[in-house]
Symmetry: T
Subunit: 144 residues, 12 copies
């Protein structure tokens, strides 16, 4: 199974960032963790601080043989109508993940503009949210 | 591992209810599915349409040897300060699950009052949200 | 015809309560009045101050041979998402009644969360609202 | 008994209009239906798309021997302070009716500015709302 | 003097709960403290996590020889229209108490729906708020 | 001096209407009062319940030899963008008057949409507001 | 092709009105301009300051052989639920035009209640907005 | 007749201040103008930039033989609950005046907290608002 | 024990003011009542209509040997950020009192800006609120 | 005439995207359609999912010999203050176009932040909105 | 150069106050620091907890030979329309300073009512904000 | 000292842009002005219209030997959660500058999302805001 994993702004600094909230995993740790846990899967990782680059990547996913999308949109989760519109056009299973519980932080983080166009959201389990995301994509594909 | 699974109002009718939104699983199907998938685990299930009964159950979980809570608060998710306060006192791993994506429905369902006091939330994967909930509880216990 | 009449919190005190707003009928007067006016009908009355008990009663109405529901949700009208969700699952004619005109009182009483899932609402005619409710249920059944 | 039946904007097109929401009765069908059901009553019907004409009619009702008012203010229900003020001056029984359930449609239809000055509101029973309105007026007159 | 002391959801856990905010008194300590300080008084205590049970208790207070009510509605303070309506019918002195200062916490705790129907509110003095509540009831009875 | 006095909806019923709020003067009393107090002035009076008729009258005032406008827009004060736009085009002195103090009633009466396009507003002095209005117009003309 | 051109309140004064915002064209200039540009078309023009007259005209358009509607609702754009409801019933191409850019003025002009029921809106091109409106109607008819 | 004229913050600078909005009259010009126009009246003038001094003056007016109050609260109009409460206790005729039209400026100036406790408000006629205020006080005393 | 009792605007008129809401006690009655009830205590009373004088008094309380503060901020309760900031710096027990129940009056009185910086609030018991305030200060000192 | 046509995020997928809302034209169809309809014009097309690239293009248009701008900002219409600021600096005719009627979709699409800095907006005519945009630019240049 | 330095409520306690937020400088330290850093300048310092005293000082600055104003309005920053109006009349350079970053604290501190009438604002640099304020005044005078 | 100076969207056009608001300095003038005033400092300048490029630059500043950041985020100030999150991770002194006073313009410019994560903000002094920014950075470094 081919899974695209998109990470939005500032997630390249994971592990450096506020350790109480996000833990000490680096993004590369998450990547290697996923590859190790799911050796039969083909993961494509992209992190960008550029909203446009993420939209481009969503568009490309429509034509590659991608079976599912796992995405952590970072700060764009709460502001980007453009990512939302891009997601509306992507018909594969789409799972939004967040490291911290977005319902337990500042009020403006409780609204997920992007999440309205995802199949579901997994929020609050640190790096493990990505693993649950893979399980969710697997389930969505089986359910067809 | 002992896991308490609490279900709030109307979830006893699962399977009857709006099939487009919630699928055709009955609550008993979810229960037997969990037991089958995790034969080594001890699950205690409680469904109630009574807010007070759910609060009582949260309180009791503090003294039984419960290792984790998986809860779908149904309509109380968006209205119950009392359940929120009860959860604040419960120190075990707590995972909120929803069958449908609460960010993709009516606006009033986007706010989770209870979710602020949970470790994380899994929303939008139908009955499979509960399975992901078990995985999340396992992870939270290991991480300690 | 079998009609279920549900009354929510504080309606057991009807007649005692603010007489300017609600009149001097007791709930038992309303019950006997309905039985007298519609001798061929079978009425089942339930009043409860417990939200959960009302939800349970809505659920049971799905399996008994109930032809219509008349309900005065009292204070739950403006707060209960859980009753709203229960009503969504009940396919028989459903008529919400209020003794006083909910549009002529405090602003928070103008929103009916439950009413969105009822066929219609009759508000402002005192105990007679229940009689109009029976007429409305009769009409809804005939119209099929 | 003399009953004035006022209909606001667009109700002249009833039956043409969105059939799913409003049914197939024409306004003339409602009129003839009322006359047939209540042969002893004297009904005066007025439909107007002009807010001022409706206010004029409310004023005139103060001096004719009108025993009760049944009114469907259409779109003016949600916007007209002027009709509201006119109603405040009319001391006869006043019943507001709506074909569709105003609590089950767009959010802006949930507020009834006019309804605050009516005795009660009957909403959601199609053309039959008018029949229930006659029953309500009868009751209000008897109660004195 | 007979005083009814009602405690709402989660107050049964007092002493366990967030000690910085609520102190280390248990609810039973408060009860015995009141009995000891006011040996001539007859206190009736009820704690419940069930909104309906609290409403039932308010109703019963109308017919027992209760001279005053002291109540801590917990989380229901901010959400329960039904308790508010029940209190409107109870003519004895009614004093609302809170352990912590509701004006110094989350914004949603600043609104007291129930408090609008109480004689007064005492908030922020820990268990001693109940003692001040007894003094307030005594005063209200004397002032008659 | 030629003064146009426009009165909006329901002012034809003045004297009948809520006497506590508006006093017992009829509109014709106000008219004769003004003529008597200002015998040298030429008053043109128009009352209408029709928003369009009032707009037409504002338009006509642009071409007649009208020296000033005194207007009580009644309920349209708070809702009519169209009257506001008409007033923007009328270059003579314009004084808005109200019988009751619009700042001391319901909150929705505190906003004057029309008043933004008037020179000034006189509110709260009953029929005498019109007399003050004439004085204000005189002053505005002198100041030129 | 038969095109109905409706103009709402104050547009009869076009050319007199605030020249910076609206330019110096009179409404009759717009009419003759359209007739000259589209000699093969049959235009019917109606301007009214009366909301009801505009609604009547919308209703009549349903039965005449009108191929398209171009309308500038003036101040009613932002306030009239009744015009909105009338438009919902009219199945021909409907184009809303505005002389000035409604998004570049006062905040209350940014919401178009009527526009929700039109095919599209052309705003900000002065009198030329009407010409673009004719082009838009032509296109909508061809597209069928 | 004894009239107290209170002027709030910054009115001592009248004439210096934004001349487009307020004109070129100084406060002393207004005072001498009033004395000249009403030679038989006894005016007491107080201007203060101190909210407390204005409240003190309102209190003193209760015991002196003051027949009426004319007040321009300046910026306190929109913020002072304390002046509002003081006015509630003063039973003589009370007229609020403003030089500019408070409905035609910034939105925050449209709310008059103090005005709710005045008999009426005169706004928008420059220094002449005070003269109209005297007329209004005379009328209110006569009406008694 | 030395207790500072601060009273804000208009409380000097107590007893004159709206008797239904506030009772007939004068402020001097409250003072003598407190001295009589607590003969061993040293009370310092200050009433002022000047926000700045109250802030000055709060500042001085930091250096005198004041053991506790009882304060009724009157209208400043709902508007004064400056008093709030002053209270933040005062480390002695601080109790806010109100004669009437601030939760049972106008909506703007429900927010206590000052109360966020007080230990607790006692509201609704007339002059007796001050006596309860003394009890609360005593308790806070003992608790240390 | 040289016309710059800017298209924002996701418009590269036109034709694939929700066909009910946007029709089946591809963006390249729109481009070739414009070139064919206006053979004498020089069109420069740029589509980008990057907000910054669009701002860069707006800046460059200031120095090239561009006679007019037609732009569909896509999702940035409702969120981008930065594009708005860039447009403020561009003095050529600027026309905003939208395929669907932004007033007839989700509420958040009704506000056009960018549109405040455009000459006008054309919304709701599918690909033909661009053709109307060219006509509008032509008109704006002639009016010059 | 003559510079007036105004300090609002509670700034006299600087150094005592919350040391994490405001640092340990006393207001006299700031004063001596400024005099030492700018020996050629003439500073006039005024601190007051009285809004009126600050307004008086602003007024006086109009007639003294004051070259610039540096002001920290403390809690009045967020509430005082009266200070705002006073500043509007003062034509010299005006710089608002804050010790802490007003955008990084409670939400109500983010709005500066006074700041709208200042040339600029410097916020967040502790006592050094005043030094930057002097530099800003110097610059504004040179720029003329 | 090494100082990074970041400029957001449209600041490359400085000097061209609205001269009343921003003055006539070009961005290159500001750069050369800073280098001239602080010859011992090493400035690195970056202007970008791309949000992502600015975030990348913030990230890089963590690893270069940058001693302080001065940033004018332009339109992103009010919209970018992603820049805000990036700033949270950067531990050097951070000063936000604006040319115009953001509190004196449109209401949406009053909120600084980015500013919550800066040490302080300097707004309203034109190009000189950058010079003050350097002084502020120097101070923050010395204070350590």
């Amino acid at each position: 199974m081919n899974i695209l994993v998109l990470n939005g702004p500032n997630l390249n600094l994971l592990g450096d960032r506020d350790k109480d909230t996000y833990g000490t995993n680096k993004l590369s740790d998450i990547e290697s963790g996923l590859r190790k846990s799911y050796p039969a899967f083909d993961f494509r990782f992209l992190q960008s601080n550029h909203e446009g680059a993420l939209i481009d990547a969503i568009h490309e996913a429509r034509h590659g043989n991608i079976d599912g999308l796992i995405a952590n949109w970072g700060g764009f989760t709460h502001t980007s109508v453009a990512i939302r519109d891009a997601l509306e056009l992507l018909a594969i299973p789409k799972v939004e993940v967040h490291l911290s519980n977005i319902h337990g932080r500042e009020e403006f983080r409780e609204t997920s503009i992007t999440g309205k166009m995802m199949n579901g959201i997994i929020t609050g389990f640190g790096a493990y949210s990505y693993h649950l995301g893979v399980e969710a994509v697997k389930h969505l594909r089986q359910r067809g």
